[in-house]
Symmetry: C2
């Protein structure tokens, strides 16, 4: 019997048209014109010399943004979760004791991944909105003797910033590797990967760096590299296998084909990193901090309360705001989007329905954007709750 | 001690400028203007209604391109290898007997991945340039009683096209799941996923579909879905876990956040699939076939020989050409790129140094491009080998 071709759905005949929104949720953030133009550049091959140069630029850009000299520095060919999975599956072996700081969804997510690698997962718990002290961390390192500690620098679900100074030193005192998720923090707050003795650090492209999601910076210290090279069991993933990836990203001579990189994403990431280098880390960190403080003031003036109590625990990139008891959070979100094309996000995990999340990252960490968000939020609070359905 | 910021590398100050090449290697292929424009569209959130619509469009586009009604149809957030890994890690459990057709590098690659899942890998070998017959396949199914058979429709390293008619029926007769890699074939030659009883099919975005690499279509049949849902052990990957992915891609009500999709890649993939739907599969298959025949004729006229002997085994999308004994393959490749900006690729795996590979896919399956490649190849053969270094 000959097969006959079924026709395509009519929906594919429609034009692809998209509104221009102010993306002040937890990310993706808006991209600059320069970054979007890079995304439209003509295609080249994944082993062409022009692309190898872009890869080298990206490596240098990540080394700057992370403040590291690590040779095992590259961008994973996937979004932030892919980088998290790369960190996990390269380092974690079956039965490894893995200590995970959980004060929001990212610790839970890494636990999920570590369990899939048959790790012996120990959770160090803290309520959302709080962070871990060095004493708490040392206590858990002594108790569990983990081979790996996972912490989230910018816990985007809670809006907290984990202080990392001293944690790497502590980990190494107890012969433990430190893995840090900085997807929602990198570029918006201080990071000194080498000085802080962080062994694996990763981030996403679509937050402060301001590129489209799809290529995620990651770096492994010498200590992390040795852990990977002395594994007993092969890494479960081919796509994320760092031993293979560095032959594509870091070889001095001929680069070895491993997989086809997402070419356009790498162009855009290169430009995002170049823009960060152009501005300079110090100025970027300061700009994000100033915009966050301006937002916090404005929120208080609107009669709202910040969710994170201790000022030093507040992540400049993403701010969590308590939803007042008499307000339907979703109505405010929908109104702000519909009337102002401004994104204000709801809570995630245990905070669903309890907080809004406002992100000011990369292109959006600007005073005029802060004003715009505050106006949209104020207007939505006033009008969204007026509708008869409330 | 306060940390001080080290400055960025000067290489990041350079402008990102790229040449326009004719990408007639094994992929990535050139993108259409419409696709590149989509890649530059403003960012939106990964759960915004506009993006959910794009996901639904992509699902419909894949269902058309694959000729399937499968509900578990989506695009993996990574390049072709990511889709291969998704197929493997979702289906394969430790100790599963997995039969893999190896007549080029893709069978080897899937074997590598299956071994990482602790499968009991059985290889069905065939020299590069040849394909498997139904009799050979049935013999191996009877001998090994595998839970899964892997075949490559378009073996890009050898330039072969595997006939798939009847294979699915055979597999199901022996209670085996059929997984097919169509990265280098889909859209350029016939595919009837449902009629041919293929259980898992995947492809890349950067070949016939003509989008940038980074989002890879995949589909699971009801049988494959049941195998995933009745696994004894959890899938080792979170990022590629189909059970979680379908909650993001296919839920009728509220879509569940799983990971941030590569937004721009999905825009571009949507447009690539829409262009394929606009042209129609039959016409696209025919166009690729005609261009391949034109290329084959031209190559013979240049005094060269095709690597694949049996006409019915020739993949229209990628043609392998024997490198004459007195010619240095790399000189020809370099000359074609330098003087003509035309990509002709070398061999991969066992065929490294022995063949050139010429791809005519998507935008490049056009008569003028075939002419251009033949002129570049002819000129390079004549001139590249003249240099004193030879």
């Amino acid at each position: 019997m000959m097969s006959s071709i079924k026709p395509p759905d009519d929906r594919l005949k429609e034009s692809l048209v998209l509104p221009i929104k102010t993306l002040t949720g937890p990310g993706p953030s808006n991209c600059s014109e320069r970054v979007l133009n890079a995304n439209k550049l003509p295609m080249v091959g994944h082993l062409h010399k022009e692309f190898i140069k872009v890869m080298d630029d990206i490596k240098a850009g990540i080394q700057y943004a992370f403040q590291t000299h690590n040779d095992w520095t590259l961008a994973i060919s996937g979004t932030g979760h892919a980088a998290m999975e790369a960190a996990c599956c390269n380092l974690v072996e079956p039965n490894d004791v893995v200590l995970i700081g959980v004060n929001g969804i990212w610790g839970e997510r890494f636990s999920n991944m570590a369990e899939r690698q048959n790790a012996n997962v120990k959770k160090m718990m803290k309520p959302m909105g709080e962070t871990f002290t060095l004493e708490e961390i040392e206590q858990h390192l002594m108790t569990h003797k983990p081979v790996l500690l996972f912490l989230t620098q910018g816990e985007s679900s809670a809006g907290t910033l984990q202080d990392l100074k001293g944690v790497g030193y502590l980990c190494h005192k107890y012969d433990c590797i430190l893995v840090v998720d900085s997807v929602a923090a990198l570029g918006g707050t201080a990071m000194f990967m080498d000085d802080w003795e962080i062994d694996v650090l990763y981030t996403g492209s679509q937050k402060v760096i301001g590129a489209p999601p799809g290529a995620s910076p990651i770096s492994f210290s010498e200590r992390a590299k040795q852990k990977v090279l002395t594994r007993k069991k092969k890494i479960t993933s081919f796509y994320f296998d760092m031993v293979e990836l560095v032959k594509y990203w870091s070889a001095d001579g001929v680069r070895q084909y491993h997989h086809t990189a997402p070419i356009s994403n790498m162009f855009a990431l290169r430009e995002g990193l170049a823009e960060l280098a152009e501005e300079g880390l110090e100025r970027s960190w300061q700009r994000h901090n100033e915009c966050a403080l301006m937002l916090h003031n404005g929120i208080t003036k609107l009669g709202l309360q910040l969710f994170v109590q201790d000022k030093k625990d507040r992540l400049p990139c993403i701010t969590t705001v308590k939803v007042p008891e008499d307000v339907k959070w979703k109505d405010v979100v929908d109104y702000a989007m519909e009337k102002h094309l401004v994104e204000i996000s709801g809570g995630l995990g245990n905070l669903a329905g309890k907080v809004w999340r406002i992100g000011l990252m990369g292109q959006n960490a600007r005073r005029d954007i802060v004003q715009k968000v505050l106006i949209a939020l104020g207007d939505s609070l006033k009008n969204a709750t007026k509708s008869p359905s409330n």
